[in-house]
C-alpha cells in the first residue's frame, strides 16, 4: 500500500509562473489606476494635457503675465505691428530688449506704417510695476512679470484699433474662452445624465418621448439655432448675464449626445443582477442610478464629454465673432476676432488674426486628449 504523497512545502499558486512586482501592481490596480496607466501610454494625449495645463495656468495668471491691462489704450500706437524681442544689438549682448517704433502715416492709402527704430533700444523689465489690477479680485497690486522699459512700449503681438496690446488681450481673453467650455460642459453633463437617466431607467413611453425630442434637437443645424437663440437674449442684459446666457444656450443643444450614451448604457445595465438586488432591497431609482449604475460607465461619460468641449469653445468663438455672442467689455478670443471681420483691415494689419492660433491649439489639444481618454476609458479591453 503506497501512501498518497503530500508535499510538505507551503502552497504557492504562482510557483510555476512567478508574478513580477509590476504585474502584481497591474492586477491589483483599481479601474481608475488602470485608466491612468493606459492614458500615460497615449503620448499625444499626455502632451496635449500638458499643453492644456500650461494654457489654463496662463489664463489663471493672465493679469500678472501680461504687460498691460485688458483696456489699456496706447493712443500713440494704433495698429502697431508686433515687436520682436532681441537679445543682441549689433553683435553686443544687451539682454532681452525691443526696438522702438518710427511712425509714419502713408498719405496714399492712409496706412499707418511702423518700422523698428534700431537706435531706440528699450530693455525689458521683469517683475516690475506697471498697470494696477486686482489679482483674482482679492487684492490690489501692480506687479507684472514683464513690462516695457520706462517710457517705452512692448507690443509682442501688435496693437488693435484703439492701441490696445494684443498679447495682453489674448491672455485675458483666454480666461473667458477657456471657462465657457468647462461651464457649458458641466451644465450639459448634468442635463445629459438626468434626462438620459430618466429615459434609460424608466424606458417605455418616457423613453420614447425623450428619444424623439433628442432626434428633433439633433436635426437642427447647430449654429443657426445658436445664432437665433443668442439673438433673443435681451440687449438690456449686463455682459455677465449674457455670458451665462450664451453658456446655457451652448449647453442646451449639447446634452443630447451624452443623454443617448447614458440611456443606452442604462438600458442594458438595469437588467443586471446587482440592479435587481438593489431594487429588492428597496433602493429608490435615484439612488440606484446614481450610486450603482452611473459609476460603472462614468469614465466613458467623462471621455465623451471632453470631446465636446472643443465644440463649445468653437461655438462661443463663432457667435462672438459674428457679434451675436459675448459683448465687450467681456473679452474672449471670439470677441477679439470680431475686429478681424473686415477683410480690408486684416489685409493691412494681419496680426489682428492672431487669436486664431490659440483657438486652434486649444481645440487640437482637447481633441487629442479626448481621444486618449476614450481609449483609456475601457482599460479591460
Amino acid at each position: 500500500m503506497s501512501t498518497h504523497y503530500v508535499s510538505e512545502a507551503p502552497f504557492d499558486p504562482h510557483s510555476v509562473e512567478q508574478l513580477t512586482p509590476e504585474q502584481e501592481k497591474l492586477y491589483l490596480a483599481s479601474q481608475w489606476q488602470l485608466m491612468w496607466l493606459k492614458l500615460k501610454q497615449h503620448r499625444l494625449a499626455v502632451a496635449s494635457s500638458v499643453v492644456l495645463i500650461i494654457i489654463y495656468l496662463l489664463a489663471l495668471f493672465c493679469e500678472f503675465l501680461s504687460p498691460y491691462n485688458l483696456h489699456t489704450r496706447n493712443t500713440d500706437y494704433i495698429y502697431a505691428p508686433p515687436q520682436r524681442v532681441h537679445v543682441f544689438h549689433e553683435g553686443e549682448f544687451v539682454g532681452p530688449f525691443v526696438y522702438g517704433y518710427s511712425y509714419q502715416l502713408n498719405m496714399e492709402n492712409l496706412k499707418r506704417e511702423y518700422a523698428p527704430d534700431t537706435r531706440n533700444i528699450q530693455k525689458l523689465r521683469f517683475f516690475c510695476r506697471s498697470d494696477g489690477y486686482k489679482f483674482w479680485g482679492l487684492f490690489e497690486t501692480d506687479v507684472h512679470f514683464v513690462c516695457p522699459a520706462a517710457g517705452g512700449y512692448l507690443f509682442l503681438f501688435g496693437t488693435d484699433r484703439l492701441g490696445r496690446d494684443m498679447y495682453s488681450r489674448i491672455l485675458h481673453g483666454a480666461k473667458i474662452s477657456l471657462t465657457i467650455g468647462l461651464v457649458g460642459i458641466a451644465l450639459s453633463f448634468i442635463l445629459g445624465i438626468v434626462i438620459g437617466g430618466i429615459a434609460g431607467y424608466y424606458g417605455g413611453v418616457v423613453d420614447n418621448g425623450i428619444q424623439r425630442l433628442i432626434e428633433i434637437l439633433r436635426s437642427f443645424p447647430e449654429l443657426p439655432l445658436w445664432m437665433a437663440l443668442s439673438a433673443t437674449l435681451p440687449v438690456t442684459w449686463s455682459p455677465i448675464l449674457v455670458f451665462f446666457g450664451i453658456t446655457l444656450i451652448l449647453a442646451l443643444l449639447d446634452w443630447t449626445g451624452l443623454a443617448r450614451a447614458v440611456r443606452s448604457k442604462l438600458l442594458s445595465l438595469r437588467e443586471e443582477d446587482y440592479c435587481t438586488a438593489a431594487q429588492l432591497m428597496g433602493a429608490r431609482p435615484g439612488r440606484i442610478i446614481g450610486r450603482h449604475l452611473l459609476p460603472g460607465f462614468m469614465s466613458h461619460l467623462i471621455a465623451s464629454a471632453s470631446l465636446s468641449i472643443p465644440g463649445m469653445i468653437l461655438g462661443e468663438t463663432a457667435l462672438s465673432f459674428l457679434g451675436l455672442g459675448l459683448r465687450p467689455p467681456i473679452t474672449s478670443w471670439g470677441v477679439l476676432l470680431n475686429e478681424a471681420q473686415n477683410i480690408n483691415v486684416v489685409a493691412l494689419y494681419p496680426w489682428l488674426m492672431l487669436p486664431v492660433v490659440p483657438v486652434i491649439i486649444v481645440i487640437l489639444a482637447f481633441n487629442f486628449l479626448g481621444d486618449g481618454l476614450r481609449d483609456a476609458a475601457d482599460p479591460y479591453k
Binding site: S219, P221, E222, A231, P234, M353
Partner: protein, 332 residues
C-alpha cells in the same frame, strides 16, 4: 420598400410639426414685438404715432390675436408657401429670400459630394495602409482640418487671396450676373466661384469622415471572413473592394445624417465671412435687427433641409441594406 418610404415620410410630419413650434417659440422670445420697436423708434425721432395706424398694422399682421392663433396663421401659411412678412424689408419673406435658399442648397449638396469624393479614397488608403507614413501624414492633416473652425479657415483664405493674388474671393458669381436671370453663363460663373466655399465648408466634415471610414474599415478588415478570403488566396485589392468596403459603405451613407447639419451650419457662417449671397448673411442681419419672422423662416428652412436630407439618406440606406428595410429602422 415603398411601404418603408411611406412610413419614413409619415414620421417626418410630427418631427416638422415640433420643429415649427420650437421655431415659433424662438420667434416670440424677444420681449415685445416688432411694432413696439417701430413705435419706440418713431417716438425717439420725435414723430407722432397715429394710434389708428398702429391698430391697423397690428390687425394686418395678426399681432393682436392670441399666441396660438398667431402660430396657426404662421404655420398654415408656410404650408401654402406664405412665409410671413419681413418687417425690415417691408416685403413678404418669399420675395426677400429669392435665390438665396436655392444657392444654399447648391452649396450644401456640392459640399457633400466633395466630402465624399475626397474622404472615400483617402479613408480606404489610410485603413489599408495602417501605420504607414502616408496614413500618419493624412491623419495629421485630417486632425488640423478637424480642429480648424471653418469660419477661421475662410478668414485665412480670404486674407491669403487678398495678399498674394490681390483679388477678393468673396461672392458667389461675377458682379455682372447678380440679379440676372439664371442661364448657362451665370451657372458657369457660379461654379467658378463655388470651389472656395466648398473647400472651406467641407474640410472639417471630410476630415471627420476620413477618420470614421478608416476606423470602420479597420474593424471590418480584422474580421474572420477577411482572413478566410485571404487564406484562400484572394487578391488584396479585390478582397477589400468586394467585402469590407461594401459594409463600410452603409455607414458612409448613414453618416450623411450627421454630416448634413454640420455642413449647413458651416455653410451659414462661411457665407457670412465670404459674403456669399446665400441665407447666411441675411439670417445674421435679420437676427441682429430682430426681424424675427424672416429669421424664423430661415431657421425653419434649414431645419427642413436637414430633416429631408436625413430622410433621403435613410431611404438610400434601406435600399442598400436589407437588414434595415426588414427591421424597419436604422440600427445605430
Amino acid at each position: 420598400m415603398i411601404g418603408y418610404i411611406l412610413k419614413r415620410l409619415f414620421f417626418m410630419i410630427p418631427t416638422l410639426f415640433v420643429i415649427s413650434i420650437l421655431v415659433f417659440v424662438i420667434i416670440q422670445l424677444p420681449p415685445g414685438d416688432y411694432l413696439e420697436t417701430y413705435i419706440a423708434e418713431l417716438q425717439s425721432q420725435g414723430e407722432s404715432v397715429d394710434p389708428d395706424r398702429i391698430r391697423f398694422l397690428r390687425a394686418e399682421y395678426g399681432l393682436d390675436k392670441p399666441i396660438y392663433e398667431q402660430y396657426f396663421v404662421w404655420a398654415s401659411g408656410m404650408l401654402v408657401g406664405d412665409y410671413g412678412y419681413s418687417f425690415e424689408y417691408g416685403l413678404p419673406v418669399n420675395e426677400v429670400i429669392g435665390d438665396r435658399l436655392f444657392l444654399t442648397i447648391i452649396i450644401s449638396v456640392v459640399t457633400i459630394i466633395f466630402t465624399w469624393a475626397i474622404a472615400f479614397p483617402i479613408g480606404i488608403y489610410s485603413a489599408t495602409h495602417q501605420y504607414s507614413w502616408g496614413d500618419y501624414g493624412l491623419s495629421f492633416i485630417g486632425f488640423i482640418g478637424l480642429a480648424t473652425p471653418n469660419f477661421l479657415l475662410a478668414l485665412v483664405m480670404l486674407y491669403l487671396a487678398n495678399v498674394y493674388f490681390g483679388t477678393s474671393i468673396g461672392g458667389l458669381m461675377d458682379p455682372e450676373y447678380i440679379d440676372q436671370p439664371w442661364g448657362i453663363d451665370k451657372l458657369i460663373s457660379v461654379l467658378e466661384h463655388l470651389w472656395i466655399p466648398v473647400v472651406v465648408i467641407g474640410t472639417s466634415g471630410t476630415a471627420g469622415m476620413i477618420r470614421r471610414l478608416r476606423a470602420n474599415l479597420l474593424d471590418e478588415l480584422q474580421k474572420q471572413y477577411v482572413v478566410t478570403a485571404r487564406a484562400k488566396g484572394m487578391q488584396e485589392k479585390k478582397l477589400v473592394r468586394k467585402y469590407p468596403l461594401r459594409i463600410a459603405m452603409n455607414f458612409f451613407i448613414a453618416d450623411i445624417g450627421s454630416l448634413l447639419p454640420s455642413v449647413i451650419s458651416g455653410a451659414e457662417i462661411t457665407a457670412i465671412v465670404l459674403s456669399l449671397p446665400t441665407t447666411g448673411p441675411m439670417m445674421l442681419n435679420a437676427l441682429q435687427s430682430q426681424d424675427m419672422y424672416l429669421a424664423g423662416s430661415f431657421l425653419m428652412f434649414l431645419a427642413m433641409l436637414t430633416v429631408i436630407g436625413v430622410m433621403l439618406s435613410d431611404i438610400l440606406l434601406a435600399m442598400l441594406d436589407p437588414r434595415i428595410r426588414l427591421q424597419g429602422g436604422a440600427t445605430k
